[in-house]
Symmetry: C2
Amino acid sequence: MTPISQLGEFGLIRHLTSGIKNVQPSTLYAVGDDAAVLNHEGKRTLVTTDLLLEGIHFNLEYVPLRHLGYKSVAVNVSDICAMNATPTQITVGLGVSSRFSVEDLEEFYAGVRIACEQYKIDLVGGDTCASVNGLTIAITCLGVADEQDIVYRNGAKPNDLICVTGNLGSAYLGLQLLERELRVFRNTQHGNLAKATEHDDAIQEKFEGREYLLERQLRPEARLDIVQALRKAGIRPTAMMDISDGLSSELFHICTQSKVGCDIYEDKLPIDYQAAALAEEMNLNIVTCALNGGEDYELLFTCDIHDYEKLVPLDDVYIIGHITPAEYESVQPDQPANLRLIPRNGNPLPLTAQGWNAFQAE
Amino acid sequence: MTPISQLGEFGLIRHLTSGIKNVQPSTLYAVGDDAAVLNHEGKRTLVTTDLLLEGIHFNLEYVPLRHLGYKSVAVNVSDICAMNATPTQITVGLGVSSRFSVEDLEEFYAGVRIACEQYKIDLVGGDTCASVNGLTIAITCLGVADEQDIVYRNGAKPNDLICVTGNLGSAYLGLQLLERELRVFRNTQHGNLAKATEHDDAIQEKFEGREYLLERQLRPEARLDIVQALRKAGIRPTAMMDISDGLSSELFHICTQSKVGCDIYEDKLPIDYQAAALAEEMNLNIVTCALNGGEDYELLFTCDIHDYEKLVPLDDVYIIGHITPAEYESVQPDQPANLRLIPRNGNPLPLTAQGWNAFQAE
């Protein structure tokens, strides 16, 4: 393994970004100066940023670096898709401690490049520096859209249909599976589960039949395909978000910002059979996983009820409920009163926005 | 002190970004959705990003959080200035461990806001999350420029004048002073030097007459004023960079990318008298400090010799040398042969680009 110090700062950046080809016409000048230069003439520029920290957002004991590179890009691309826009460029900031080698960073960047190819975006800049401990990843993604295409969180109105893409809870269950196997692995062996999964038959067996859940957790996709399909179908959502913190939490954001309520139906929630089976095995409530499990990076959107006929033929889009009238006069800004889950028995339950509070003491 | 967990993730972001007013006409939609929406119609959009890590880029034992917030913005604004462009928006990503309180983050954000006011830019998004240890700051800055105004590193040509703004080495000497006092402070007391400097007379005395050096290190300014002055004077630099890693290192970048050499004159290097006095006291070579000390965030630029008359009346701009013909055939890409320092005795010395290699073992 090559120590990073052997290449030095400039050498490392050159090494990691060499051979990167730009595909976006709006990329005028990328890596190699104080700033990248972009041309989004006559369009709106969108920007989103995410920080991913070791020990909080990922555990390198079971996350391969290549997947982590891919996921870091995908979660930012997902935020641009959630505005109904087209992602165009990213910047990548990396803080790396001395326990990482040049080969480790190559793996990470390999994942970044695969994601850039997948979403047809350009890597236009970044910052790579030493850190005291652990791996820090800061990604910023830019996108473009015509003014009239951009979809915010605040446009949902009563009677709008509520839709989600793909399925819910799978990424969360993938995480539970990885955490469980890591605990077993730690008790029996030394080393790195991420590397062991590639070589160890006993471990491969543990994951057999659950590959889909692992993929959902380790290598999620941004739903750029859905943004394109909606455009093709002539549907402009009234509000949209990506599901990173969990369906309940995102519905809370849309309803609060749109000043509306919602009814969603338990039996309409799209759930994968691998997820349902694992939830059963682990004594977890699959509906709770679907409502509050994060990191699915599917899209949640609302659209006018008149778009129903256009929506139905779309692949991988599921109508799960509808927006209800305002009546939004909650005293607690964090807990709107009229977000409801309609279970199979028909008696509405309040939908609680558990959200995510990593600052809470465990 | 209020623990961050009391506000929760959403509450914290609302709290820290409440009351922020946008001043840039291009800011269409800022904090509160998946991405910010910007309008840079008919102009070029520029983007730069920086990661600042505790223990590497700053030491909270002597850096007040408010100054750190200011500096984090200024160093990114500086990168946009270095392209001869106008900074317009920033995003701020923060990773904070549980040892930080809400009041700590308010201090940091107060500094961010002061910098936004200073440079007339908008805070349009970000990401705040828990970290396992320490403080992580990721800033992305956007800017705009007309196509013909943008200045890259690769436009310097033989006989161009080489200019720097302000003075060199002061930020580095400010750092040496802080590091020295911290060592003394650690041996005699417990606590935080940053807080002690505000209340402790004995410590205030140590810094007396050196306030300028501390300011240069703790609260550097981006030279947006110079970008504006150059425009007003009708000067378009042929190449430009900001001096973050040290003059030698930046000259190396400009000469390599422009495929030229340079002669710079020792007696032309602008040096502040406080810096010279402290270097003497600490047995440091002030010319080495000026050439290789980083973090001055002054501008280094080259411009056509015919602009000489326009340059001379400009405040705080110093001509330190000139660009020499190509002859650039070095075998080592990291060490061009024709970067020269002309000392007072007139015998040219090779200018070595020490650069900065934080990955090197101490």
